[in-house]
Symmetry: C2
Subunit: 362 residues, 2 copies
């Protein structure tokens, strides 16, 4: 089969990831003119009523989708989720205090390492012993109610694992939700702060969404660098935001509401991941790399029993218009990243390719 | 006259500012499909050959345009120029040292205030005494060769002033060039680091370009937070960059080369600002707010002698399709921001409106 690159292909990129076609078409329609301003959205002031309306609409939609009450601030910051690895302890890890980290993958490790530069950062549990292929059992966690917060990564992009429920801890939770944000409901009660780089589930790269509860915000340290103080951005639009990225996030949120909101998208996500995992589990030809009870609904990692066939699998997948299935180099094998905007149809076509490949090589 | 908002109007926004139409049309053409990848540029990995090529092309073009030798690193970071106000002293202001700041406007003041949080930050000179309407005479500067660096803001967006030549100091120069970057040549010899938020001269908001000389980089402090250490980003692509913003910057750089590069655009910029200042100076009807020898080629700030007519001026300008001429609230009056992408034609139409308005009200 010849790949036709003048069509949109089935895109399983881990991030920046596929976006809803309707969103991209809507962006296209608004170039070079955003309605009623005589310029594109990238060429108007971030203090203009038009941009303020976009940002406020994005905020309102996140609030509605997750059921955030008014005591939650919603911020749109540049710098990427990696900046949050530093900004979280800078704001919330007191010099004479401690914070707890759950190490379930590379990103969690990086977050922990940055916290160590700021203060005392404890490892509560780690799955490094088995190459991060599972989420540690809560009974094994070394909890301490003196932790100023407990940080965890809700979904681990590289290893294909995901927390199946909210960690039950006494300290306020801080969550890197970059790779499963708005893919399922969040049990907000336990959280102080949630952050998510946009480029997996909610938009293009270039903006990070931060949800921070006011009573948590109020206990942050004082005298912080202005741009790194969450209070600066909670109070007002301090500096020029990444306008285009926020504009796209707002469109993705509209699209998400059209999919039935969080419960609608969660049902589709479950259907998508079930279809893939069932195909993997059906025979011994494929094998999932994450332990079953820790499997991610966002990143499905798998290998062939015959690893020597994996390159052929990926080459043929590409020839069939199935993009970006190569696993992360630290795990090897294959990874299908199937975030919100990856359609059920793309999964069906992937599954049918997998079955065909198995028949020809099994 | 009725304004037709289904056409692109003459946009004098201070930033995010107008972009070349050809650039926006090219973006539009590449939605929803970037050539040969089966997805848009926002939906592919930042480690893909296609994105790496875009970023590398942007870097090469900046290098060629400014004549940067190989000892200069070129970084594309998120977070805005305001983040640099902190990042510069964090990297380069030693705990037992000092740095010098030239205070020529609001942004310079903010940069200085952030440095004060890090260490000893000296004011070398200030034009606050006259509302920042001039660049202080070098003979009045309080220089000290012990300064680890001297920071200045090459162009002051709000007050319409601009350094007419490179400050002659012994310490390495650090420059916030956000509002005149790539509008004129840079005498590189004296600089350690130059930074510029993209949204005025070189792209949309969401990315900041940093030029840092290797021998300056090497004397930065050690043990910094990873994301705030310039060395992290000079070494490799550490985290997901703001892909779309960099992609647009690359297109603006191509456009800039088509305008004859820096010397070509500088000639046009001079023609544009001369036309406006001549119109302002011709009679007493208008008056420039910046002192003549400090005037900016990027932001032309002016008032009417009869300030009671200013609202009428701005209303009629808007009705005539001349956008965003309102001055910053701290100066009042009018401001025409005429960065690289603002065409000579837009200036001619503005000037002809100004003359007509004067005739009717003079």
């Amino acid at each position: 089969m010849n790949i036709n690159q003048s069509e949109r292909l089935h895109n399983f990129s881990a991030g920046p990831a596929t976006l809803p076609l309707a969103v991209i078409e809507s962006v296209r329609e608004e170039l070079p003119l955003y309605p009623k301003v005589g310029a594109s959205v990238m060429e108007i002031s971030h203090r203009s009523p038009e941009y303020i309306e976009i940002e406020s609409s994005a905020r309102d939609r996140i609030r509605r989708l997750l059921g955030l009450t008014e005591d939650w601030h919603i911020l749109f910051l540049g710098g990427g989720a990696s900046m949050q690895f530093h900004q979280v302890p800078l704001n919330f890890l007191p010099s004479d205090g401690q914070a707890g980290y759950l190490l379930t993958g590379s990103w969690a490790k990086k977050a922990h390492a940055e916290a160590e530069r700021v203060g005392q950062s404890r490892v509560i549990a780690s799955s490094a012993d088995k190459g991060f292929n599972y989420i540690p059992e809560p009974s094994s966690w070394d909890l301490d109610s003196n932790d100023a917060y407990v940080h965890y990564t809700s979904n681990n992009t590289i290893y294909g694992t995901q927390f199946q429920s909210t960690p039950n801890v006494d300290s306020p939770l801080v969550c890197d939700a970059s790779s499963d944000f708005l893919s399922r409901p969040i049990d907000l009660e336990k959280y102080g702060l949630i952050y998510a780089g946009a480029q997996k589930n909610i938009g293009p790269s270039g903006v990070t969404v931060i949800l921070v509860r006011d009573r948590f915000l109020q206990i942050r340290k004082q005298g912080l660098p202005t741009m790194l103080d969450y209070g600066t951005h909670a109070e007002k639009c301090f500096n020029t935001p990444p306008v285009f990225a926020v504009y796209m996030v707002e469109k993705v949120l509209r699209w998400l509401e059209d999919q039935g909101g969080i419960s609608g998208i969660q049902a589709t996500n479950r259907q998508k991941s079930n279809l893939l995992y069932t195909t993997i589990d059906e025979t011994d030809f494929y094998r999932g790399t994450a332990q079953r009870e820790s499997r991610s609904e966002m990143n499905v990692t798998f290998r062939l029993q015959r690893e020597d066939l994996e390159q052929t699998f990926m080459d043929e997948a590409t020839q069939n218009g199935l993009l970006a299935l190569k696993g992360h180099r630290s795990v090897g094998g294959m990874r299908a990243s199937i975030y919100n905007a990856c359609s059920l149809e793309s999964i069906q076509i992937l599954v049918s390719f997998m079955k065909d490949f198995q028949q020809r090589n099994g």
